[in-house]
């Protein structure tokens, strides 16, 4: 009994991934320099990929996973999501995406308050998503509107402690929403931002004086100014939601003048200024299925935006349909491919590209020796609705292929008489 208990304790204490896994026989799409191989092997040891190739010897101690006839890809990386911060949208206590606190905005940090037990996580994971950029959302009140939503964090979706990296981007709305927050005009926001960045630079140079109360009054709180220092230094990207072509140009000009590192988000009319975005070296996160003119800043929305941006040389990442519907991210990539984006580029837009854009490409986004062991085995084309993952590894650990939704399904499935029609393919 005691021995059993000790064994159980040892099991609990050891990193769950302390084993060697060899995924063999599948078509391996690495999204890295090794490209694709018709029959490849991926070896994961102690949570990391140690070898990928067509002629890899399977280590003697490895647990072998046969992927013959299947497709092996890196785990997918979701952007524009709040996984870990939300449970039921209409239940306010389960929504930690933003704050209506009065004394900070840029300092809000999505790396705190993350819930690895969120029921959304297994649902997203069954869509092949293993990592996410959890992004704060504005929680405005009419008497207090924030310029910045706060800082995004990179997270892992294996149900363990989620936080990978804090402060991967500072989140800002421009265009319609930003103008409204700044007092009702685009110019107001552009002026306010320039003034704020000047204050942050001033504060950065006079922190000691600030502590002695020997500086002029600043608009922002100390916490917000501290949070913005890496932004004005060009170390933390400013993630700007923006749609209208003219607003994109304004954002690019702001970035150039203030020497900021930018990421554009949404960019419905990005295709109209694709060359300028590419020339500025600014990546774009977008939801390619959002093709309706939903507002006056999105009149040029089109299904071909992703393809046109990529053709101009812009690095793009494709977003899902938001939190509960994050699993549709790969379908969005498939839709971009159906509308002109190269299929390999579409897969890159949900793997290596988001990893690169958020400074995580040394850890995730491709199947390469040294990277963390996020691997998905698919029974078909990962971009296609009819395909599903058959196995998912995160940090080297096999993930359960269930969610609360599949448990509900199984509870009620038995009451349904077996169907007479059709065949299972």
């Amino acid at each position: 009994m005691i021995r059993l208990l000790a064994a159980a304790l040892a099991l609990a204490a050891a990193p769950a991934a302390a084993e060697t896994v060899a995924i063999t026989g599948g078509r391996v799409v690495t999204m890295g320099p090794a490209g694709e191989m018709e029959r490849g092997t991926v070896v994961i040891r102690d949570g990391r990929i140690v070898a990928v190739g067509a002629d890899i010897a399977v280590p003697a101690d490895a647990k072998t996973v046969d992927a013959t006839g299947k497709i092996v890809t890196p785990g997918l990386v979701a952007t524009g999501t709040a996984l870990g911060l939300i449970e039921v949208r209409s239940v306010e206590t389960t929504d930690d995406r933003g704050t209506a606190a009065t004394d900070f905005s840029a300092a809000f940090d999505a790396g705190y308050g993350l819930n690895p037990d969120s029921l959304l996580i297994p649902v997203a994971r069954l869509g092949g998503i293993t990592r996410a950029i959890t992004t704060p959302a504005y929680k405005d009140r009419s008497d207090r509107e924030l310029l910045f939503a706060g800082q995004a964090a990179a997270v892992a979706l294996d149900g363990r402690a989620m936080l990978m990296k804090r402060g991967v981007a500072m989140v800002l709305d421009m265009g319609d929403a930003g103008a409204e927050r700044a007092g009702g005009a685009r110019a107001a926001e552009l002026v306010a931002l320039r003034a704020l960045f000047a204050e942050v630079r001033d504060y950065k140079a006079r922190r000691a004086a600030y502590d002695r109360g020997k500086t002029r009054d600043y608009t922002l709180s100390r916490a917000d100014m501290d949070a913005l220092i890496p932004v004005v230094e060009g170390r933390m990207p400013l993630l700007v939601s923006v749609n209208r072509a003219a607003d994109i140009r304004d954002a690019l000009a702001l970035g150039r003048e203030e020497r900021l590192k930018l990421i554009l988000e949404s960019a419905s009319e990005g295709w109209r200024v694709a060359g300028e975005i590419a020339a500025a070296g600014v990546p774009v996160l977008l939801t390619p299925v959002e093709n309706t003119p939903a507002s006056f800043e999105m009149l040029g929305a089109t299904l071909t935006n992703a393809a046109r941006l990529a053709a101009a040389g812009v690095i793009i990442a494709i977003e899902g349909n938001g939190n509960h519907r994050e699993r549709e991210m790969r379908y969005n990539a498939g839709n971009a491919a159906a509308n002109g984006l190269d299929r390999k580029a579409a897969l890159a837009a949900i793997t290596i590209n988001p990893a690169r854009i958020f400074g995580l490409a040394d850890r995730i986004g491709s199947l390469e020796a040294g990277k963390e062991g996020d691997v998905v085995i698919w029974d078909g084309d990962p971009l296609d609705t009819l395909a599903r993952p058959t196995a998912i590894f995160i940090r080297g650990e096999a993930q359960p292929m269930t969610s609360r939704a599949t448990e509900l399904r199984d509870r009620y499935l038995s009451a349904i008489p077996p169907s007479a029609n059709g065949e299972t393919p």
Binding site: V91, P293, A294, A301
Partner: protein, 467 residues
């Protein structure tokens, strides 16, 4: 093509209209007659697009009658399907379209849309005409009077193969108002899109929305029991109204005619089986309650919309012959949709029921085939045996049944209206795009021809025009 529009309350009007076979024009009653309700005061002015004789040859055809025909031929003539089958000979006089490697299905039908009533740009308040949230019972409103035919969403849906849609009022009220069924043709007027002879529906909403809207205003309903009390009270009034009308009719229209009441006319139309109940209802227990309400007052529920817990009562819904219009992927945005599963439609289907994939959304309406594919692959993952030839019904034949137009559209069968989509790929593939779309045998979209894109006046001269 047009059949007599349905009668609301008077048999006399039906006879008058059926004789002409056309919708009754609004006309002044004879001086000595009591006022007669015009049962179709906003008649369809739809005209089929220019009809051609077309043979689609060599495609894989999903007929939505349960068949998948390899190397199939579909003949369209006079606005109807003339023939469908494998390797049919093409008669003289048909324009042949080489469809080898491609797929053909009936036109896509969305059983739940707000296009036109909540038009693009949807962020503009002036375009939100979908929810008359001024009283829990607005059975008196007709959503067709909110439809703006210039909504660019109609164009986007047409380019995705959608040929017919039911437009519903919103779900903020217990009784949201009348639905309208539209053909997805470019038109300056709503009447020009109106599906001739399609029955009206009545939007009823369960659950969180009405109780939140009116509870928030400090009035009833503030709870689910308040919701049900609200339905019952309204049906009692409707029964009384119908009885008074019937009595007056039975008396040979002697004496003062009961005053018309728009709200009660619609409810009485449901009691008489002329208006179909389209019920927004998520939870299994609430659907069961609504079935009991319908029994208490003697009407039928045609479709539960959203119905994300239909899988918990699938055999009951099959027995009651109530369709289920739902999604595969939507869940978790409020408590009543917490238990949604991807396999919902498949479980309803497996129980022998009428499963529908609907949109409720201007983006999802453009990929009902993909939403159905997600539901289908979830079914396969769960070991449920459903093939594509059956799953195609989820966005064609079954919504046609829910809308009461299955005798005209929803399948590819001789005699049916020639509403047809030619797809670049298997429609259950993510890569499938509608290449050509026909409504009543006339082409309304051809991806290769720019003249068929972007009809909406709104986009003229705008940045999106030449996208």
């Amino acid at each position: 093509m047009r059949r007599a529009a349905f009668v609301l309350l008077t048999a006399t009007a039906l006879a008058g209209c059926a004789a002409s076979g056309r919708p009754q024009p609004a006309s002044a009653p004879a001086a000595d007659a009591a006022p007669v309700f015009d049962r179709d005061p906003y008649p369809s002015t739809y005209h089929a697009p220019a009809v051609e004789r077309v043979a689609l040859v060599g495609a894989t055809v999903l007929t939505a009658t349960g068949e998948e025909i390899a190397n199939g031929t579909v003949l369209m003539e006079g606005g109807k399907i003339a023939a469908v089958g494998a390797s049919l000979a093409v008669p003289d006089g048909y324009r042949t379209i080489d469809a080898r490697g491609k797929w053909v299905t009936p036109g896509v039908i969305d059983a739940h849309s707000h296009l036109g009533a909540w038009a693009q740009p949807e962020s503009v308040d002036a375009h939100n005409d979908v929810n008359e949230m001024t009283d829990p019972n607005t059975a008196l409103v007709w959503v067709e009077h909110s439809v703006w035919p210039q909504d660019p969403g109609f164009d986007a849906a047409r380019e995705a193969g959608v040929t017919t849609m039911m437009i519903l009022p919103g779900s903020g009220n217990l009784f949201g108002g009348r639905t309208v069924t539209l053909k997805n043709v470019p038109s300056v007027t709503m009447q020009g899109m109106k599906f001739p002879g399609a029955p009206y529906g009545l939007k009823i909403a369960c659950g969180e929305n009405p109780k939140r809207v009116y509870g928030g205003k400090g009035r009833s309903p503030a709870t689910r029991m308040g919701n049900v009390a609200g339905y019952r009270k309204a049906w009692i009034d409707a029964q009384d109204y119908a009885r008074r009308r019937d009595k007056w009719e039975a008396s040979g229209r002697t004496g003062e005619a009961p005053k018309r009441d728009l709200q009660l006319e619609t409810l009485a139309g449901v009691l008489k089986g002329e208006i179909l109940v389209q019920n927004h209802c998520y939870r299994a227990d609430e659907m069961a309650n609504m079935i009991d309400v319908s029994r208490e007052f003697g009407f039928k529920i045609r479709t539960f919309h959203h119905a994300n817990e239909a899988y918990k009562i699938a055999p009951l819904l099959e027995k009651e012959d109530i369709c289920v219009a739902t999604w595969a992927s939507w869940w978790g945005y409020k408590m009543e949709v917490f238990d949604a599963i991807e396999e919902n439609a498949a479980l309803v289907h497996a129980a022998g029921g009428c499963a529908i994939i609907h949109s409720d959304d201007p983006i999802v309406i453009q990929r009902l085939n993909q939403e159905a594919a997600a539901a289908l692959s979830a079914a396969w993952r769960a070991g449920i045996r459903i093939n594509k030839a059956d799953a195609i019904r989820w966005f064609t034949a079954n919504p046609a049944k829910a809308l009461g137009i299955a005798d005209r559209v929803g399948t590819i069968e001789p005699g049916k209206n020639a509403d047809v989509v030619l797809w670049s790929h298997d429609p259950f593939s993510i890569y499938a795009r509608a290449e050509r779309v026909w409504i009543d045998g006339g082409i309304v979209f051809d991806r290769a021809d720019v003249r068929y894109r972007r009809h909406s006046d709104f986009l003229l001269g705008q940045p999106g025009e030449k996208r």
